[in-house]
């Protein structure tokens, strides 16, 4: 598991539902916000990746809701790289309330890399620098 990279999101009014809480589907979007920030931080930004023809679809996502989030809460989403096989990449998420530290949600996602034609690509061949960045992140922390 890599070190965590944190990202902050303020719960918007349009993200609430009639239960008076942030609708659960938004956490999946916050995971994406935090994941994009994570990849930007480690030098593997989505925008540049898409320009290089490397697309990274979501293969699986899960969220475990622990406590509710409310309008204008600032939540901190911590992202870690948990696994990278050369083909599949796994991330974990932890959402906490910034003010209280209360755990709101944990989650996971799995991804692969494809080209614009939709074929799975090996990052090791197509973008060895990017491959090495990911491998190094896992090694540094597991070592």
């Amino acid at each position: 598991m890599s070190e965590a990279i944190s990202y902050e999101h303020v719960v918007q009014y349009y993200e609430t539902d009639q239960m008076g809480i942030a609708h659960h589907s938004n956490y999946i979007r916050w995971f994406e916000e935090a994941r994009i920030h994570f990849f930007d931080e480690i030098g593997l930004g989505y925008k540049e990746s898409e320009k290089m023809g490397i697309i990274s679809p979501v293969l699986a996502v899960e969220a475990n809701y622990k406590n509710m989030s409310y309008f204008q809460d600032t939540v901190v989403i911590s992202v870690r790289l948990t696994d990278y096989s050369g083909v599949r990449l796994s991330l974990s998420y932890e959402v906490t309330d910034k003010a209280t530290g209360q755990l709101r949600c944990t989650g996971k996602s799995k991804h692969c890399f494809i080209n614009p034609e939709g074929n799975v690509i090996s990052l090791k061949k197509v973008a060895p620098d990017r491959y090495n960045t990911l491998i190094k992140m896992l090694e540094d922390d597991n070592g």
Copy 2:
């Protein structure tokens, strides 16, 4: 103004906000749903248009909220073509509650036609059949 073409939408739980009503931003999305249905019905479907390289961005949109909509309400969105200059196209929307007929919202939108490079195109030149369909719709009703 053309004849109205109606489209139905059921208010979803995830469309509600903590005021206990459908969030106002969703009406803009319902306008789009109804507009896409409108163009499908008159034979100018978005999907086929995009394949032909004709994209129709939104230039302006407005909504006037009259009454609130609630979870599981079925709302009827009636769309009319109100103007077409050959370059710009205007539509009007009326959202009513299906069960009671109560007026919920009225709206307008303006559109043009562009090619994938982002240049404004004349439908009359690029797709005369589509141009004629629109002109005829306005004539039939105004005549």
Copy 3:
């Protein structure tokens, strides 16, 4: 596992992303649409439940994406009750393309029942008819 109850959703333009596909977060919303339909069909509608002071928050959700969905695809979401302990309730989801039958996504969700104060309630005590409906659904199919 109970019998499946199916629900249809048409992929909207505003649900697509710049990858040209339905954004993965929407499946979580389609699960909700289908779940609400499921509970309506078995006589445990959300709306009536909320009036009775029974709220059913999402404890966990997961989605496994198999194939992409595109603008205007009609997807069929099949929902099954997979487990009910008297406190926790589990559902499974299968999203297929209506036109081709292609599997798009599978998923699961877990729920409990709480009162408006946020305390977990036993359906068996508070709403025995509703409890029996769920138990019977599981028995009928497993028997």
Copy 4:
């Protein structure tokens, strides 16, 4: 017209559509984000208002799209109070790209104040401090 109060939003991946741009409905949500920030800044925060039983629904909204916004653009939304009759309040919005200053969208919204029962209330009677804040904002700038 009051002085402008500015708010920044980064365009999210989930806000893009298959045209490769931020979907037009998101601007209505960004207006809300910026409006909530505006009211927080002038000491009339939504959260406190709702606790006081003052709800501020949207009566009307409009957006005029000038240029497209893209994934990861930082947009600046400037909000001004343009009118306040004691009952109805009008705001204007200007969305520009932070990096280039390019104008992306202009907009307007109208609001009133209601109590939780849905009746229109006079801020002058119910919350004179809040009333005065708004009147003063308009005077300062128009004077």
